[in-house]
């Protein structure tokens, strides 16, 4: 370990409170960014994307399950993968528990991957996940929305 400053509880508290002022500025800045983000234009989707889900074929509108908002996590699981990407799996371990809270606050959270549904379902059972996961196997969805990169 390299050397580092040490101090008394009072010294720590004074330094911590100075840092807190900076942290509060960051929070205000985040709130400002959130407002600007809400002002971004909305882009209408005209293509009819179709997905395979546990409940059968679904359109993008179906994924909303009646809510007004939808989050789609593009989970790296290509058609020829034998398992989902480990980093995406670590991220999904994090959001697995919150899908119910979002669903009760007007937001559906889905994962979407290009692997066929059966592979996704088997992997979901292995990892013990509860969030909904759709396959975009035959669809252009991933290419069109910024997460499919061809070799060129």
């Amino acid at each position: 370990m390299t050397k580092h400053n040490t101090g008394t509880r009072d010294e720590w508290l004074r330094a911590r409170l100075d840092l807190l002022k900076e942290e509060k500025e960051l929070t205000r800045r985040s709130d400002q960014l959130a407002q600007w983000r809400q002002e971004l234009p909305w882009v209408k989707i005209d293509k009819d994307y179709r997905f395979d889900t546990d409940e059968g074929r679904a359109s993008l509108a179906d994924l909303f399950r009646g809510r007004s908002q939808l989050l789609v996590y593009h989970f790296m699981f290509g058609p020829d993968y034998t398992a989902g990407c480990p980093s995406c799996s670590a991220i999904a371990d994090g959001f697995n528990g919150i899908a119910a809270h979002l669903a009760n606050h007007d937001v559906m959270l889905w994962a979407v991957s290009r692997a066929p549904l059966a592979k996704l379902q088997a992997y979901k059972r292995r990892l013990g996940w509860a969030f909904p996961w759709a396959s975009s196997f035959e669809s252009d969805f991933n290419f069109d929305y910024g997460v499919g990169l061809t070799e060129e």
Partner: protein
């Protein structure tokens, strides 16, 4: 064909669907919590302190969430809500803005 991660955000207005936001790379790493996800939706947290579009529902913070296995159990959540309201009245909630 390569894969990469990212999170797309959509809004539905009747039959019309819009893409409102997209985030990837370092920004996507910050995602994964209820409130981080709500903050990237078009309607935000739908909490009363936000400047949300007209006509969209808003609720008070600390009152809309519940145990994940108990949504719809109004009696249990009513008791918690009562406790939250008492706490807020006593100043325990603090200023959310």
């Amino acid at each position: 064909m390569h894969e990469w991660h990212g999170t797309n955000v959509f809004l539905r207005d009747g039959d019309r669907v819009f893409r409102t936001y997209f985030i990837n790379n370092r920004g996507d790493e910050q995602m994964g919590g209820t409130w981080n996800y709500l903050d990237i939706t078009a309607l935000g947290r739908q909490e009363k302190w936000e400047d949300s579009p007209k006509g969209y529902p808003q609720s008070t913070p600390y009152e809309w969430w519940n145990w994940h296995d108990d949504y719809g159990n109004d009696e249990a959540s009513a008791k918690v809500l009562e406790q939250v309201r008492r706490g807020r009245a006593a100043g325990a909630g603090g200023d959310v803005t």
